[in-house]
Symmetry: C2
Subunit: 412 residues, 2 copies
């Protein structure tokens, strides 16, 4: 742990942990809740309309435990899907036929949602407290990463019956799918990365363990091609990098200055690593506690530059065409989104959609981006070329937005 | 035109042209046709089963003018879809909701197929002779590239009504979608690349023209991120490269030795450029007339190596995880598929599925690959990790295979 971060003191660390754990949402979140009716609610519910599922999606309504059910072609909500429990730090993955979303809730709930009919197909409470999950390459297995009691549980994606239970004696974070029906994940309490191989027999996962990868991995990502597994470290500077094409080489440490905090900057939120931007051999990742996007050469895993931005970045997301990066920020700049041109590495546009832009999701080929503006209780849709706002949709304290095209990507 | 190629003589050139134009399929193709019944034919036709559309696809039955309608999860055919005209050199794109396929036929037919119900939704004859097409980034426009009478026609993807007609006074090839509702295409007779911008008013395409890009562009591709438009040249060695992020820089020539033929090697088939393999900054493209895959550094557009293979490559396709390349070949090695490991650049597996492996399509996250084996009248499905054959499906002289996840990608 760097000296700088130690000096920030225990109080700040406690805030970090609360934000990471997010067991308790900020009070402001509850105060901001208003009973906004869902404009197109319920009229299409369960009608079983015959339609393609490639342009559907969901947005988490974090405090209400519900989803907005979205059509990205018409840019409308098809209604609200309720009864998903505590979604204060929820994420979702999609079945390979793009019909079902699997939503991982903070309360350990795993809910299979039929986005064709807008109904909850199945719901189980699979642990006391979950942080997220993944779907296997072949779509048959759902893996959930758990805080309480820790470990990874693997379920049949059709029935949600338990297939395998992988105890870890640690909180598990950064669970990602790898090619070959494998899952990679990190152990917060132990500083380890594990790979579970379920290709041969899903009931008997083969485990490969990497120890001493760094202190308190707090989030991880897999590169879009499924090759690089990268864990951010909370307990010390730097990141842990595993080349899954060459497991024998082991986990390597990189970016030794990443997250260093000599200047005693308060870190309002540890940045998400679950997605990153890659253009050619360059990756763009959010600086920790700094008002900058860090540029990394993936061929060497060295920092090769920074791009100054107007706050502490949370998500740095590349448009599907790789041409521009969209960045949102932690408090107090969480009302702002900045857009960076990749070739010139310059900011070309700044938006201020409103307080607490929590997430951004691109349509699959990137013509539009959807933003969740939590305290304004709405989703906003923008044209990525003109930056023109195309639509606003009411949603109660929305957070994550997930489109069904994620079914076809690694690490989403 | 290189001296070597001139010496090969007019007869060979005529064969090339026949293969490129493919107006007349080889006689062998017709002889090999057998009345293989479609195993699961018709029992699901038109029932309008409520299902996701993310795991559906089609395979072209080139001589019969029909499609096999595919379910990639169950690895079965859902039936045959008939009445699509001359499909001897057909291709397809998908609507953004992944419900409809748009099939471009050799006879100028444009057929909108409902892959949810297995029915032809609409069909028009849009020209005398078409070579392929594309769908706009926003999914609203279908563009068709025409040989006779040349030019590009743009249609409403919903109604197939004509939106714009772009005369070119040339055969058009290599029509690809670009971000920003633009299309790029090449003019065989004029040696030009044009970009049509339909973002502001689809009825009034704004044209940007690049002249003197090389003699007889015969095919083109767009890189997976939609940035690089690359045309292969039939009339001379080399390729034409356009950086669509920097149109002011114009079209540049690259790979001056690509397609040179001093050794008077017969070229049995000009390789397809419509797809390529990219890993990091390296692209892997089929050598012309040579038994090799050419490695290109995309940052410089220089050849940096070759990988010897067992025939003249037609398609060099990367698994979605970028780890391996799958290569099929022209006559006489068209019964073979080779698999190359990207990190070591070595062949790790050779399959011989049977005569005339015409196409390969990966499932979206790459766990399986589907092959069309034309003269064996079947599709084959392989596990990409173990190379185990998982399924065989009867199909009459199958050629192109297209899965609905293409809806969410550029240039597919």
């Amino acid at each position: 742990m760097s000296k700088g971060r130690n000096l920030v003191g225990a109080a700040l660390a406690a805030i970090h942990l609360a934000l990471i754990a997010a067991k308790v949402a900020p009070t402001a979140l509850f105060l901001a809740l208003a009973m906004v009716p869902s404009a197109q609610a319920d009229n299409l519910r369960g009608t079983g309309e015959l339609r393609g599922t490639g342009d559907l999606g969901i947005a988490i309504e974090r405090a209400k435990g519900s989803l907005q059910w979205l059509d990205t072609t018409k840019k409308v909500s098809l209604g609200r899907i309720e009864g998903l429990g505590d979604l204060s730090h929820a994420s979702a993955v999609f079945s390979r036929d793009a019909r079902h979303a699997y939503v991982f809730g903070r309360d350990g709930g795993l809910t299979k949602v039929d986005i064709l009919t807008g109904q909850v197909a199945k719901r189980i409470i699979q642990s006391g407290n979950s942080i997220g999950g993944a779907i296997s390459q072949d779509g048959r297995l759902i893996a959930a990463a758990n805080y309480t009691p820790g470990g990874v549980k693997v379920f049949d994606s059709d029935t949600l019956e338990l297939v395998a239970d992988i105890p870890t004696e640690s909180k598990v974070i950064g669970l990602e799918d790898l090619p070959g029906n494998r899952f990679a994940f990190s152990l917060w309490d132990k500083g380890e990365i594990w790979i579970a191989d379920l290709a041969d027999d899903p009931k008997q996962p083969k485990l490969t363990k990497f120890a001493n990868i760094g202190t308190q991995p707090y989030d991880a990502l897999i590169s879009p091609d499924g090759r690089w597994y990268v864990a951010g470290l909370y307990g010390e500077p730097g990141i842990a990098v595993l080349d899954t094409w060459n497991l024998d080489a082991g986990v390597k440490r990189a970016l030794p200055d990443y997250g260093k905090n000599e200047e005693k900057l308060p870190v309002y939120k540890m940045p998400h690593l679950e997605t990153w931007a890659v253009a050619g051999n360059l990756a763009f990742i959010p600086g920790v506690g700094r008002h900058e996007v860090v540029i990394v050469d993936v061929s060497t895993w060295k920092q090769v530059g920074v791009i100054p931005v107007s706050g502490q970045p949370v998500f740095v997301m590349a448009q599907p065409d790789g041409r521009r990066l969209w960045v949102n920020f932690a408090f107090p700049n969480y009302d702002t989104v900045q857009v960076i041109d990749v070739p010139s590495q310059k900011i070309v546009h700044t938006l201020t959609p409103g307080k607490a832009v929590l997430h951004m999701e691109f349509t699959p080929r990137g013509e539009h981006v959807w933003l969740s503006v939590r305290d304004a209780n709405r989703l906003e849709v923008y044209d990525t070329a003109s930056f023109r706002k195309l639509a606003e949709l009411p949603a109660e304290a929305p957070s994550g937005i997930f489109f069904s095209s994620r079914a076809h990507r690694f690490g989403l």
